[in-house]
Symmetry: C2
Subunit: 190 residues, 2 copies
């Protein structure tokens, strides 16, 4: 049985801790919402930062709100290769041993010692959907996309929470390889 | 049965006709070899060109020799999106209806009306290998890569010729999505 999953492509982005946000933008600063994202509560902020690693820089990288416990930069492999950092595939939040970078804000710049990751491909779903799919939080499974550039993504991580909305998140390399620019769809292979 | 296929990632590159080569570099110009490529007779040339589409430019794009009948620019989707051209997936040589670009050489620049493609993922193999794999020239099949970023590439085109050396060619988006930077391996799924 085919099980359809909406697919979204996430461009490079930054999650900030409140402390780092205030250093970069000023004391007491609050992120301003540009638009809501698919996952409830998550939003693209109006604010962007530049990311620098030695002489290489990527400008105007979108911050995603709300603030989190730890600052984390999510790049595609293409971005990481451009910045000459080793692209390490990690689940969100699992940043021990990952590369650092300099984040340049309007007030100041900060050097983070870790937190640059390539996000492990994953889906968000709620417990009811997970049950229908036969999945539990943390499970790995496969999702196939269709069309001329059809791909099957293996080792897709299931992330289950009652607040999640069903969606597979790919980075821009994965989306481009599947010829999916912003949104598409995939089918769970059980 | 698993059937191993070496995988190579092709960065953006340009094939030139002799006529376009001479306009860009001067009358009677011959490409200079930088290094041989995997397919016999093919080589990375010392020469590069800049590719421009309206205000966007990608500099120092490698020319691949020898010259061909028609000029053709092979980009990843990431590159095409950056240049704001529609990335059209095509077999090499099938350039009717594809976007054009301006190619900037040391002597002159030329405007090509067509020829910018995203190369259809493919393998090269010789007739003996094709027979072992149960493939014929032009067939589509699937190849799986391994590891944390494991992907199955569907719709991989078989290109069979007695001079070909066995290799699957991916673009940089496809390679990056599979965490293969330059070389890797895949397994034919029959």
């Amino acid at each position: 049985m085919d099980k359809r999953i909406p697919v979204e492509v996430s461009a490079r982005h930054i999650h900030l801790s409140q402390n780092d946000l205030e250093v970069l933008f000023g004391k007491g600063y609050q992120l301003k919402k540009l638009r809501n994202l698919t996952q409830p509560g998550e939003f693209a902020a109006k604010e962007t930062l530049d990311i620098q690693v030695s002489s290489r820089k990527i400008s105007n990288v979108r911050i995603i709100g709300p603030v989190r416990k730890n600052t984390q930069v999510e790049l595609s492999h293409t971005d990481a290769i451009f910045l000459r950092v080793n692209p390490i595939v990690r689940d969100s939040g699992d940043i021990e041993g990952t590369p650092g970078a300099v984040l340049i804000g309007p007030k100041k710049k900060i050097k983070i010692k870790k937190g640059v990751i390539n996000a492990w491909r994953h889906i968000h779903c709620n417990p009811k959907e997970a049950k229908e799919f036969g999945l539990e939080d943390g499970n790995l499974f496969s999702v196939k996309t269709r069309g001329r550039c059809s791909l099957t993504f293996h080792n897709v991580r299931a992330r289950v929470d009652k607040n999640y909305r069903l969606c597979m998140e790919l980075d821009t390399d994965e989306g481009n390889a599947a010829c999916i620019v912003k949104k598409g769809e995939g089918y769970l292979l059980i």
